[in-house]
């Protein structure tokens, strides 16, 4: 008899074994099921509810999964051999009720017990996103969430340019770009997604070229249209997060109303001269919170509302504000940190001040209140008529 087999005999005498069915029942009774196979093996499938914890780091990571040494731990490998060795290691660490799943994942699968094929990142993705996968708040799971996310940029301009580039770099899987305009040389001072060579091209096409060049795995969906109450719901319905980087009030109110109606988070950024504003409006989100109309019930009349075309803007300003928006988007997708829901962040570039202001839901707001959706309006008229 080989040494290995002698050792196995000893372990079998010490470590209780359970059948896959028994393991499944124990799982329902609060036992934790550990899968100690190699990464490549788990690509073929993982038992439902199992925690994949490689054998190499089992002892180092077990306490994150099962901090209580009294808890029943079920160990599974491919065929039920390596799990005996792993179980022995856990017993030595003080886990008292450790059992090995006889026959391993192969028998689990053969017996028709539930399993799933894990979504895993390709080797290219693991290399590309290595620095953010390292962050426990992101990890491979978070990276997968980013890959599954669909983000729509309203405007491929000063705000959309940096937001789009960084979100694409970070691995957001689908980026929508909505803009009806062409690249103009006067855009290039701040709209860094475009290039001198692409002056005169549709902005959405120019943006697509930049984004795909940066990260070929991104899916770019272009919308070379002017957003209107007729097309807004069609366009928005394929997205999880809306980034408002538009450059006029009618579009901003339309974006707000559609986001409120569809329950989508609206990551808002706006700029003028040296000042920027950022907030996240998501009345349907977990924290509730106000909408854009709660903050500004109506826009300034046109004569009091200079645009960047008339009033000017410092080129770096939309870079900063657009990246604050991108940061909000990543947090929303990953479900980490605290967003700007209920807070308006104001950036004053001249004095390098960031100030944060709190505001509440407006109990009289017709759009995000409890009443029925009031419907879309004629946004041009709405903005011309305000005083």
């Amino acid at each position: 008899m080989k040494a290995k087999d002698r050792r196995l005999q000893v372990l079998r005498a010490q470590i209780p074994e359970v059948t896959p069915e028994e393991a499944r029942a124990l799982q329902a009774d609060s036992a934790v099921l550990l899968d100690v196979r190699e990464r490549d093996e788990t690509l073929q499938g993982v038992a439902e509810g199992a925690v994949v914890l490689g054998r190499d780091f089992l002892e180092l990571n077990i306490e994150d999964v099962a901090p209580d040494p009294e808890r029943c731990v079920l160990v599974m490998c491919g065929s039920g051999v390596r799990s005996l060795f792993a179980a022995e290691g856990l017993r030595q660490m003080g886990y008292r009720d450790v059992r090995s799943v006889a026959g391993g994942f192969n028998r689990w699968k053969d017996q028709g017990l539930p399993f799933h094929i894990p979504k895993v990142l390709s080797a290219d993705s693991r290399a590309r996103y290595a620095r953010q996968i390292l962050l426990p708040e992101v990890g491979e799971r978070g990276q997968q969430k980013l890959a599954d996310a669909r983000v729509l940029l309203i405007g491929a301009g000063g705000l959309g340019a940096p937001a789009g580039l960084y979100l694409t770099a970070a691995g957001v899987g689908t980026i929508g770009v909505l803009d009806h305009d062409l690249v103009d040389r006067s855009n290039l001072q701040r709209q860094i997604i475009h290039t001198d060579a692409r002056v005169g091209q549709p902005k959405v096409e120019s943006a697509r070229e930049a984004l795909v060049a940066l990260n070929p795995s991104v899916r770019v969906q272009t919308h070379p249209v002017r957003l209107s109450r007729e097309n807004v719901e069609d366009v928005f319905s394929g997205y999880d997060v809306i980034v408002d980087g538009s450059d006029n009030f009618p579009t901003r109110y339309l974006v707000n109303d559609a986001c409120v109606h569809l329950g989508l988070p609206n990551v808002h950024g706006s700029i003028l001269r040296f000042d920027g504003q950022v907030s996240t409006f998501w009345p349907a989100g977990p924290d509730g919170g106000p909408c854009y109309r709660c903050l500004f019930p109506s826009p300034p009349p046109p004569e009091l509302a200079p645009s960047c075309n008339e009033a000017g803007v410092l080129g770096v300003l939309p870079g900063i504000v657009g990246l604050l928006q991108a940061t909000e988007v990543l947090k929303l997708i990953l479900g980490i940190g605290h967003t700007l829901v209920g807070r308006l962040l104001c950036f004053d570039a001249l004095n390098m001040h960031f100030r944060e202001f709190n505001f509440d839901k407006d109990s009289t707001c017709a759009y995000c209140g409890s009443g029925p959706f009031p419907g879309y309006v004629d946004y041009g008229k709405f903005c011309d008529a305000s005083a």
């Binding site: 706006s270 001269r273 202001f357």
Partner: protein, 108 residues
């Protein structure tokens, strides 16, 4: 008494003139000679705006309607909170408070 911003005079209640700072956004600085802050003495937001309006009428016209109400596209924050959730324009000011004026802007 002073802490709450009011003081009893012989036969009437008068607002104490606290020293406060108005923060002026870049979009409105052209209406106050480019100043990014204005120091005024006032006991309420309304009084602070009135004090600023003495030298900078156009600035205040951008913030208040003709009838003296806050315009719906301008927010005012005292101690970082929206005055609509405090006492509106009658929100009392403490010595050293900052009153931030934030207009809606649409640039992108």
């Amino acid at each position: 008494m002073r802490a709450c911003g009011w003081v009893l005079m012989t036969n009437r209640v008068s607002v104490v003139a606290e020293r406060v700072t108005l923060l002026i956004p870049a979009a409105l600085r052209m209406h106050c000679d480019g100043a990014d802050t204005l120091a005024v003495n006032a006991g309420t937001v309304r009084a602070a705006l009135a004090a600023a309006g003495k030298d900078h009428a156009a600035l205040v016209q951008h913030i208040l309607t003709r009838t003296g109400e806050l315009r719906p596209f301008v927010r005012v924050f005292v101690r970082n909170n929206d005055v609509r959730g405090l006492g509106g324009l009658d929100t009392a000011l403490n010595d050293g408070d900052t009153v931030a004026i934030v207009p809606s802007v649409a640039g992108g």
